[in-house]
């Protein structure tokens, strides 16, 4: 991470000072928050207890079974969701889209529900697959609909996505309502790491794989972000790159949904902040987006765990409040810059 950050600092761009500032923030905040996340919890797991062993000999096993999975999933969920948002923004060439504002999350949720109803015995991995396929369909539908919208105003695009998501969400809610699953649905779709532990979080690693894929294809996404004609003129197989992007987005959305639930605003806020700082070169911004996403979720999860200690506030609620605030700030800031 530090090496990459140093690399980024070496390249000349307009807004150099702020970049260093954020680089330091991520570089310091990330390890600090990760360590905090490991040692904050209902049970007493302190470094001292770990070394001593003693009566709290369970500390080590607790760390391994409960804390490490939680910390790792917070990092991976934050990083991958932020990346999914970044890629979506490149595909649509709009700063205000992310899986949550384009109906992709709602489609994936519907997929989960369908899997729960039709194939109840299916292992979680299979359910995630169904959710991913639905997410893919959702991405495709959104891109089709957007193409038909004549005016591609900045705010209109996410608005269309939110409406699309609203329709799919309504269908999901209706099905859940008829089958008395409404409360279960709201329970598992509301983002939370409360019951994350070994054996219940491993699917986020799939999201991590997608992050790597996105990283490898980063340059192509940058080019895609300049438009179809431009990309084709550069000899890029536009459709294929879009397809890769769609798969990355759908799989990340599904993996996060299965492990943690819905986490709003993250994919929107993080890439925007990074873009303000270092611009739109995807290869350069990917580590920043991933790092900031991880920091964001780690911080929110620590808040979720401590605000009502020893009980928890669902992570989705905390992220929703913090993220909405940041989003508003971004909107107002953009507005003031434009005029």
């Amino acid at each position: 991470m530090t090496a990459l950050a140093a690399d980024a600092t070496g390249t000349p761009t307009r807004i150099r000072p702020r970049r260093t500032w954020v680089g330091v923030l991520i570089g310091v905040a990330f390890p600090v928050l990760a360590a905090l996340s490991l040692f904050i919890g209902v049970s007493d797991v302190s470094p001292a207890a770990l070394i001593a062993g003693g009566p709290d000999g369970d500390a080590a096993s607790l760390l391994l079974v409960s804390r490490v999975p939680r910390t790792v999933s917070a990092i991976l969920v934050g990083a991958s969701l932020a990346i999914a948002g970044l890629i979506m923004q490149m595909l649509v060439r709009n700063r205000f889209v992310e899986p949550g504002t384009t109906g992709v999350t709602e489609f994936a949720t519907l997929g989960m529900l369908v899997a729960l109803i039709c194939w109840p015995a299916m292992p979680v991995f299979g359910k995630m697959g169904v959710a991913a396929v639905f997410g893919l369909v959702g991405t495709w539908v959104f891109l089709r609909v957007i193409r038909q919208v004549p005016v591609r105003q900045l705010v209109l695009v996410p608005l269309v996505g939110i409406m699309l998501g609203g329709i799919v969400g309504a269908v999901t809610a209706f099905v859940a309502y008829r089958l008395d699953l409404l409360q279960s649905l709201s329970q598992w779709s509301l983002g939370s790491f409360a019951t994350i532990m070994q054996g219940r979080y491993e699917y986020v690693w799939i999201a991590a794989v997608m992050v790597v894929v996105a990283w490898v294809a980063a340059d192509r996404f940058s080019v895609i972000g300049m438009g179809e004609e431009f990309a084709t003129n550069l000899g890029l197989d536009y459709r294929r790159v879009v397809a890769i992007g769609m798969v990355v987005i759908a799989v990340i959305t599904a993996a996060v949904l299965v492990t943690a639930g819905m986490i709003p605003f993250l994919g929107l806020v993080v890439p925007n902040i990074v873009s303000l700082i270092i611009g739109d070169n995807v290869r350069r911004s990917i580590p920043w987006v991933a790092g900031l996403g991880a920091v964001f979720v780690l911080a929110c999860d620590i808040l979720a765990r401590t605000l009502r200690f020893p009980y928890e506030i669902p992570l989705g609620v905390v992220v929703g409040i913090v993220g909405a605030g940041l989003f508003l700030w971004l909107l107002l800031r953009r507005g003031s810059r434009a005029h």
């Binding site: 369970d58 729960l116 089958l179 279960s184 409360a194 020893p310 009980y311």
Partner: protein
């Protein structure tokens, strides 16, 4: 059930009957919440404080009295606990939200019972067509009073005051309506005895924690002291059955407070009382509570080591809670630890 009673408990139902006898001398339409009284023209009046503010945060109560015919021919019931009691007292129910009637209460429905809607919504047209003589609502269906009372005399037998007070009030009232006063009195005596026995069993059983499992998440249930009514549910293990709560300060919320597995390890109750919410609402396909609780952290708890994880009958504890047969199921659930 053997009668080995402590004096005060045995005296309680007698005192209640006496109180009711005295109450019947008082003027009708008293704002009292539990005055059931018999009049000469073969009706029983039932009074309660009806919340006319709807599902508002600030309820507004209006004293309401409804005259109910004795020995009604066609009874429609939305309150499953009342369905239970009516059936157990020898009555028959002509209409109910059929999908929500648990298997063990189906025998109390008439052979040609019609579907009156859901726990939340009434099929007004169908009910009107059936011309019922009495409609019983409560809890989830309490808001239907105005619509239903236009069709037939409608009483709201929701929990008010404590669980036991409500159980006695409703059983006594329905006994009078059905002309089965003696059976009602006998049932109350027997349930009181059973509860006393269960309390004796939990008295030296150590601490306990009620948890609700839903959508793979855990929620700690709270003693509902003073909160009464809607918040009761899983809290009944503390309030009625005398389980010593391992944590005192769980906020009295209907669905408990989200907690992590670590919470279970840290507070380490001697008994875990589990309400499987998804099983209660018929989502058999959702991850069963036993599966959610089958993990390394739970295995570190005393409750697991001692084999003291008690799976409560989800329908009885979550959907119905109240009614004669259901209360017996709850008693048996708790008494299971004494075996």
């Amino acid at each position: 059930m053997t009668v080995k009673l402590t004096r005060p408990l045995f005296a309680a139902p007698i005192a209640l009957v006496a109180a009711l006898a005295l109450a019947s001398c008082a003027t009708a339409g008293d704002a009292g919440t539990d005055a059931a009284e018999e009049t000469t023209d073969a009706t029983v009046s039932f009074s309660w404080d009806r919340n006319i503010a709807g599902e508002d945060e600030d309820p507004e109560y209006e004293a309401t009295t409804v005259e109910v015919p004795v020995d009604p021919e066609t009874i429609v019931v939305f309150d499953i606990a009342s369905l239970d009691t009516i059936g157990a007292l020898g009555g028959e129910v002509a209409g109910a939200p059929l999908e929500n009637v648990p298997d063990y209460l189906e025998g109390y429905l008439a052979d040609d019972a019609f579907n009156a809607g859901t726990l939340f919504e009434a099929d007004l047209i169908e009910i009107e067509a059936q011309q019922p003589d009495l409609i019983v609502i409560g809890g989830r269906s309490a808001g239907l009073w105005e619509d239903l009372n236009e069709i037939a005399p409608t009483v709201d037998l929701s929990l008010t005051g404590t669980f036991l007070e409500t159980l006695e009030r409703n059983t006594t009232f329905l006994g009078e309506v059905l002309g089965a006063e003696d059976e009602a009195a006998a049932a109350i005596v027997e349930l009181e005895a059973g509860i006393a026995e269960a309390q004796a069993a939990t008295a030296d059983a150590g601490t306990g924690l009620g948890i609700m499992v839903t959508g793979g998440e855990l929620r700690a249930l709270a003693p509902s002291e003073g909160a009464g009514a809607r918040e009761a549910r899983g809290g009944l293990i503390y309030d009625v059955f005398g389980v010593d709560p391992v944590v005192e300060d769980v906020a009295a919320a209907t669905h408990g407070e989200p907690v992590s597995f670590e919470f279970l390890v840290e507070h380490d109750p001697d008994f875990l009382w589990v309400v499987d919410r998804d099983a209660a609402t018929g989502a058999e396909d959702a991850q069963p509570a036993a599966e959610v609780l089958d993990n390394e952290l739970v295995q570190q708890t005393t409750a697991y080591e001692q084999g003291q994880i008690v799976y409560l009958d989800p329908v009885a504890w979550y959907i119905v809670f109240g009614g004669i047969d259901t209360t017996q199921i709850m008693i048996d659930d708790v008494l299971a630890i004494a075996e």
